[in-house]
Symmetry: D2
Subunit: 300 residues, 4 copies
């Protein structure tokens, strides 16, 4: 089975690699020539446009950075909608605005092209290991058809609801993990200032009510968790730029529904500021570096 | 062995009960007559002051709501410092300002009375089950002596560092759990507004980067986790009043050390507002009720 | 000259009244029958739809609560676009998303209907007094034509830039006034808690760097400024619901442009929460009531 | 009349200069030799300690950066309490914790030394021009005696209440001005992103509900207000380090009284972060530089 794989970035590349290690072949497209080269190096054929890839693949997978990119790849000139035959199944694994998912799906459906949203959680580490969590919105029969390919990419595949529900779940998850990470970073900055050993503090919290996935897997203090981005110079992983985007989508969704979101709002701005101050393309745990104390001689 | 147990509130009562179920007897004191009655009903003898309790016990345990109460119980008129013989060991299990811990310890030490700080995590549920996490600051030999009594109260006893370090660890833990809970509450409020089933959303997040102790054990949406406070009308548990206090202590400690704490600050205010709006004595997961959406006809 | 006036709410009614006191006659429309009655009581003719009003008026003015309402009134069934002849000038005085302004303008322009955006500042008091500030986006010649009618409504008419620029200015203004009001409310709540006389505190701040329009004109403490909403049971004035909306639009615009907005985000949530807790239709200065201290026995 | 002037920093220096331009002579002390040199260059005699200065002066004025410094200068070794004769009047013009003011006053009063708190508003510009606002807490008779010296330093002298009330008023003022400045900075950052001319935006807001002292006098965008710090490379003025300190004191006071302070908390953290990121000693309006948008290629 041939997968049309569109979007070969930090996440897309290891996902594609895992597909190619199984029974799948692939035809790839990316707007950046270097990214397309990387796909070719993994063994994928090259396409000249999303349309060409979609025409050649039995199944389409997209993994793109924003709502705008998804809209362009599906509906723009040379887009999937042009190349995909009626009946073809498209899986958008990008994290985007749920309303964009629904709009794209509606336009594809007019040409009898099928679409499900299937955003992932787990970062570059999870993508490399093939252990991503995949949250699916769309028709159960479509998910059944997509499942063999998804199983090559992730280890938890959950059907959340209709079109867009995968995105809703994903954004809620990132609201929590993004908030928890900043809270962890603040806690360890204070602990340090009081001279408490970060390893002991980690052990304590791991057994208490502050236990969180992010401390266990994405600990912001270097040297505590070997596999965490912080222990390799905050190489992503999952970037503050993307966390700012995801939290922005969550806050915007909350606004639309009049839900108060004090923490999500504050956290969105922390990642936005970290991004402005040069950390946008490191790992999201680098907010710890951003939250530096002021100098000792600042009056208090 | 007889324990002088001072402070028989929501937490102190089940802790005392667990001591009495083991090999310990107790002499109790509380400023509130009703609380003292409750202790007597569990089988403890009554004392007329902290001093009298401290004189009668082989070991002193205090479990009080604030720094001011601790200072009064140890150093005020009729305080422990008056009744405790030289060499006696005192264990303060309250959550208070680490600098108060150090000040009280210093004054006791002048009279050769020993002191360790040993705040707990796990809430009323953990107190009842005897499974609290206990974070200890102070001398290792003192902890060794305290350990049998602590083992009746909690299941994880961790030596964090010198005097006050238990408090530092505790406050950092609550910074994380308090922040994570609000993030979880916001996420589920948004999910609801979009019509996503909260049970499915829980299942998704539990297997993703948003997995947290608080969602697993203190889920704010009623009916998802049977043992959570939300499933019994938000009966505490751990109260917003106390969470506001703990986060206030954490933010204040951060200020003293010039550490930026955007999320801790925002979260402190959420619990403070929930407290102002009538939820102060329910469970801290009741912030979910506070974060109600505005009416459908509010313009957006 | 006959004005087609669409939207006869808390703001629209006194604006219409001021037009009718001058040389203008009016034909009015509102989706709510009671509002339309109120317009008739002021002397306006009734129309059965925006289209009918637009056909009858020499100039169209709209004053509506949200982007959705504006879009419906101009472009929906029975909308202005259907009734207005080519060349007619429309003035939208609503506070909405600048991108909606541009989209509506573009569609009207295709039928040679002219459009400017002219949101106002000054609240119900300013509307009643005819002293609103009016921020205009659009063509200078169109503004010249609109100026006589605008001069009946407001006393400061400022041409800010092209279509949408009036909205941008308005939202930035409300970002500042909305933030300043919450800061004032917090300051006076703290002052009260320390027993400082609010009148003296007002006098001090009025001569210092904290001097602000909102303290002078919309003081949140009752009895300090006679003309302020707080001195008449917080009758609006300008409602928390609308402030939450305006700040939401500002935060959303910031997100689109990747601008960090820590204060705007926090303030948006304060008004959103005040709205959820029953204050949405009082004056925005009622956030002071929302920011109540917790009870005296809450531990600190 | 000879003034003992202790604390010759950015604020103290021009205040001392204004005293020396009038009928006053001075004996000065500062812990930093260079600051003391500057005082001598203005014509003040040098003292070797606060005690020595206090002994030589008819009146004592202190202008120090923090509560700790004030406590040391008054009560520490070589402190004012040692050198000042019974009956002498001390005026603390520093911005500090009101509870420190009360504690220092109480200790001085035991030796019959008089004390009032008289913090100022208006920044280095106001200090140079002699137009500071001075908020006084303490006895009216003491203020009457201090008034001639204060009149050389400031142009608005307001008696707010008893000891500490000057500090309460000052901190509330800075809560408002510090919050308003960040709101202004955010508003202009958004305006810029949408291409609105900052001069026109300034004109609009100056006549609307967003009008504030800080926009008029401390406009964060360079080139709009000639006398603003932003128009001279953000040379202070009033520093982010000090604003972070003042807001920290305000938030801490709010915590003590259980008052919710969402905006003050958020703003405190903005100045704290600006300080951490190198702007601590520029003008507080430099938070505008800190609130830089992320790069154009960050996904939204």
């Amino acid at each position: 089975m041939t997968i049309a794989f569109i979007g070969i970035g930090n996440m897309g590349r290891p996902m594609l690699a895992n597909l190619l290690k199984r029974e799948f072949s692939a035809v790839a497209y990316d707007i950046a020539p270097a990214a397309l080269e990387a796909a070719a190096a993994l063994g994928a054929a090259r396409a000249a446009s999303p349309a060409e890839a979609a025409a050649a693949g039995d199944l389409v997978i997209t993994m793109l950075p924003s709502s705008t990119n998804v809209e362009a790849a599906y509906l723009g000139p040379g887009g999937i909608i042009v190349g995909a035959a009626a009946g073809k199944l498209c899986i958008d694994m990008s994290t985007i605005d749920p309303s964009t998912s629904r709009r794209v799906a509606a336009q594809l459906n007019e040409r009898a092209i099928r679409y499900i949203d299937a955003p992932v959680s787990g970062g570059i580490g999870g993508a490399a290991a093939g252990t991503l969590a995949i949250m699916v919105g769309g028709d159960a029969a479509d998910l059944a058809e997509a499942r063999p390919a998804l199983a090559a990419i992730g280890s938890n595949i959950i059907h959340v609801g209709g079109i867009g529900a995968g995105e809703v779940a994903k954004l809620r998850n990132n609201l929590i993990s993004g908030s928890a990470l900043v809270a962890v970073a603040e806690a360890f900055r204070i602990g340090e200032a009081f001279g408490v050993d970060p390893q002991i503090l980690t052990d304590v919290i791991a057994k208490s009510s502050g236990a969180t996935w992010v401390m266990e897997h994405a600990h912001p203090v270097p040297g505590i968790v070997d596999t965490a981005a912080s222990s390799r110079q905050y190489a992503p992983g999952f970037m503050p730029d993307l966390m700012a985007k995801d939290l922005g989508l969550a806050v915007s969704a909350a606004r639309e529904k009049r839900v108060p979101v004090v923490v999500a709002s504050a956290v969105q701005q922390v990642y936005r500021m970290a991004s402005s101050h040069g950390l946008g393309r490191e790992d999201f745990s680098s907010v710890y570096k951003f939250l530096t104390p002021s100098g000792d001689d600042a009056p208090v």
